[in-house]
């Protein structure tokens, strides 16, 4: 009887040991690539490379998020980015951290060319090479490449760079939600003001 008991214990221990070793090996060998998570986070970030989050670019912030940093430090991305990050990482979305700035409509840098002295400081600051120019020659911003990151504004010694809001054309127009349109009729009773399903 004692023999049977010992045999059972030994078998179970052996099995536990074998499966534990297998799991341990698998967790090392088949480890989830951390880089793939960083890539996924980086793909969600708006790539302005503005550094408002406190990291020197979007990828470093993506790495920080992968390590557990807050997801609400990206003002250019705003609520939409926070929502996508929350979906991706399966965490609760938080409101944008005002410490890092506010969500603003898309802007581009504009150099008042008559005032530019050709110092190339903004060219060195631009993270996406959107400014063309040469020493002692006027610089200008390629509008389609500018991400509106603001980084060229501070280095300019003569303050000739403005951030201008981009005018929205027909191509950027999104048809409004039916609820956002003005009502064409008088609501009869209070519950008629909104369809119940729409607020769900």
């Amino acid at each position: 009887m004692w023999m049977n008991l010992l045999l059972a214990i030994a078998t179970l221990l052996l099995l536990a040991g074998a499966f534990g070793a297998l799991l341990g090996y698998a967790s090392v060998r088949l480890r989830r690539d951390d880089d793939s998570l960083v890539e996924q986070i980086d793909a969600v970030l708006p790539q302005t490379q503005c550094g408002q989050c406190g990291y020197p670019g979007c990828r470093p912030y993506a790495e920080a998020i992968a390590e557990g940093d807050a997801i609400n430090k990206c003002p250019p991305g705003g609520e939409a980015t926070i929502q996508s990050l929350a979906n991706l990482l399966d965490v609760e979305p938080q409101p944008l951290d005002a410490e890092h700035g506010e969500e603003q409509p898309k802007r581009v840098a504009y150099i008042r060319e008559a005032e530019c002295i050709g110092c190339t400081k903004c060219i060195q600051a631009c993270p996406v090479d959107a400014i063309v120019g040469a020493p002692k020659f006027m610089h200008t911003v390629i509008e389609s490449e500018c991400t509106g990151c603001d980084l060229c504004v501070d280095p300019c010694p003569v303050d000739c760079i403005d951030m201008i809001e981009v005018a929205k054309g027909i191509d950027d127009w999104v048809p409004p939600r039916p609820e956002d349109r003005p009502l064409t009729h008088e609501p009869v009773i209070a519950t008629d003001q909104r369809p119940a399903g729409a607020s769900a």
Partner: protein, 566 residues
């Protein structure tokens, strides 16, 4: 007759077509002012070719564009360009776009037209269509050249769409019954151009006059007139293809993928006129209807004619007007002003009274009755799409094939809760399109950023490399030269310390520095009397020069001491 196929869903709204079919097509008188938007097609606006003050002739190109991106527009009549700038265009957003304003001189003098040469290749013919501004005149405004070119090989079936299923619209019907010969000529031109095996014209059976006229005109040409039962939206491109061939255009695909090319009948006429006469698209037939008009009918007018001019022509009663709709009652959109120009894609304008188009009833909650699902012509789940779209879960809606929705409005029409379903889908599609655009921009910015990072690292590495090479060369010189030169005096001196400038240069430098200090002192004294604001700057400059003088003197005395000690 061919086999009869079917598409799912569909509705039977009252067709309201008789009002605008009482009179033949009328020509609108030339207006005094025309407004030509640069973009009247899917794509980007073209580049302006004219300047304010230029005199233009009828049919002269006003803009040019890269084929595949943009389509040119042409002067609808002769006159003078008075302005080029933003003006409100017919679009659901009510936004402004660049338009060319022309003051008509009333002479309507045509420029010389260049027909397509008889020996031109197919590609040259396509480009000719592009140059003459031919776009789909059925309502979508897709560039005809791009559509013809989307097929990699000759399509099996060419379909001319004369179904015109949406209520109120009769522009194609009027064209087919009054000018059947030009429609057949257009069909033959297109048929020859694309080299299809078969050419069909699809018409709904509620247009017996048009069917009869086309049958007579098509005799002996090989073109088949196929009559389809009246059911909205049989005139949708994909639905008509399904009705006539039994094949379904794949999700996200083009008719070309199943070997079909579909063109509107009015577009076929424009193709024929472009190839045969070189005539650009500068006019079109538009239905003016609705109970607020006393003289409804089909009006042929120049592109760019202000709508109020045409509405006046159709006898608009402004007191009766309640809603002004461009397009049909199901797919069209409301206009808030009549100061807009007629564009290439405007097939119908409805001036409705309050009785005809009452305000939409208050939407009630969805009761999941499933009527919308039965009405959907593309087999979607409108109810499920509505649920996602109204909750802002646009990506889920996309997984339920939102982008296959043709926005026909059949689900709206049958909804017993009066939910504006199509508006939700349009909103969702807009949000998703915008998101894709932003994602593409972000990816582009990331690529530029990464390439810049890589370049900076490379430059840094190169600098490092050069610095190391220089250092190596110096070390080699230090260890190698004495062995080679055999310890000459200069070699020993250079090995002990880097050779300094000799005494004469040091004296010269000191003298120069002294002179600078004197100059600066004189300037400062002058500035103190005349321009006191410059004083601090000059003081700083003087200090700098004094420091340099001190340094020069010190270097000189050091050199002297060294010489003495040697």
């Amino acid at each position: 007759m061919g086999t009869r196929y079917d598409f799912p869903g569909g509705i039977h709204p009252p067709d309201n077509k008789q009002q605008s079919l009482q009179t033949p097509i009328r020509q609108a008188p030339l207006p005094a002012q025309l407004i030509v938007p640069l973009r009247q097609h899917r794509g980007d606006p073209g580049h302006v070719l004219v300047a304010v003050g230029d005199r233009v002739l009828t049919g002269q190109p006003l803009s040019e564009g890269e084929p595949g991106l943009s389509v040119p527009v042409h002067a609808p009549t002769s006159g003078t360009i008075t302005a080029i700038g933003p003006h409100e265009v017919p679009h659901p957003s009510g936004l402004e776009e660049t338009c060319i304003h022309i003051e008509a001189d009333g002479q309507d003098q045509w420029c010389e037209l260049a027909p397509c040469p008889a020996d031109a290749s197919t590609l040259e013919r396509y480009d000719h269509l592009h140059r003459t501004g031919v776009v789909g005149l059925g309502g979508a405004g897709f560039p005809t050249r791009d559509k013809l070119q989307s097929a990699s090989e000759a399509p099996k079936v060419l379909i001319l769409n004369g179904a015109e299923c949406e209520p109120y619209i009769t522009a194609d019907q009027a064209l087919m019954r009054e000018r059947p010969d030009s429609v057949i000529a257009g069909a033959l031109a297109l048929w020859q151009l694309v080299g299809a095996a078969q050419c069909l014209i699809g018409i709904e059976d509620n247009k017996p006059d048009a069917i009869e006229a086309l049958r007579q005109a098509a005799e002996g040409t090989g073109i088949e007139i196929r009559v389809v039962p009246t059911r909205y939206p049989s005139g949708g491109e994909k639905q008509l293809i399904q009705l006539l061939t039994g094949q379904e255009v794949p999700s996200g695909g083009l008719p070309a993928d199943i070997g079909v090319l579909c063109q509107n009948v009015a577009t076929a006429v424009a193709v024929d006129r472009s190839l045969r006469l070189g005539e650009p698209v500068i006019q079109r037939i538009t239905t003016f209807t609705g109970e607020a008009l006393t003289r409804p009918g089909n009006i042929e007018a120049r592109i760019g004619t202000p709508l109020d001019h045409l509405l006046f022509e159709a006898g608009l009663d402004p007191d009766q007007l309640h809603r002004l709709i461009m397009g049909g009652p199901l797919m069209g959109f409301d206009l808030t002003t009549t100061g807009l120009p007629l564009i290439k894609t405007a097939n119908c304008l409805i001036a409705g009274t309050a009785e005809e188009f009452p305000d939409s009833p208050i939407p009630q909650p969805c009761i999941r009755c499933g009527l919308c699902e039965q009405a959907c012509p593309v087999d979607l789940l409108p109810q499920q799409l509505y649920w996602f779209a109204s909750a802002g879960e646009h990506h889920k809606a996309e997984h339920f094939d939102l982008f296959d929705c043709i926005e026909c409005g059949a689900c709206d029409w049958v909804c017993p809760s009066h939910l504006p379903l199509t508006d939700y889908y349009r909103h969702s599609k807009g949000v998703l399109r915008q998101e894709k655009k932003e994602q593409a921009e972000a990816d582009h910015a990331r690529q530029r950023f990464e390439e810049r990072q890589a370049r900076m690292e490379r430059e840094q590495a190169e600098r490092e490399e050069r610095r190391r090479a220089r250092q190596q060369a110096r070390e080699q010189r230090r260890s190698g030269e004495p062995a080679e030169a055999g310890g000459t005096e200069t070699g020993a001196a250079s090995a002990a310390a880097p050779p300094g400038p000799d005494r004469e240069t040091l004296i010269q430098r000191r003298d120069q520095a002294r002179q600078k200090v004197e100059e600066a002192e004189a300037q400062l004294a002058e500035a103190r009397e005349q321009t006191p604001e410059a004083v601090p700057k000059l003081e700083r400059a003087l200090n700098k020069h004094r420091k340099r003088l001190d340094a020069a003197e010190k270097a000189l005395s050091d050199a002297r001491e060294e010489a003495r000690s040697c």
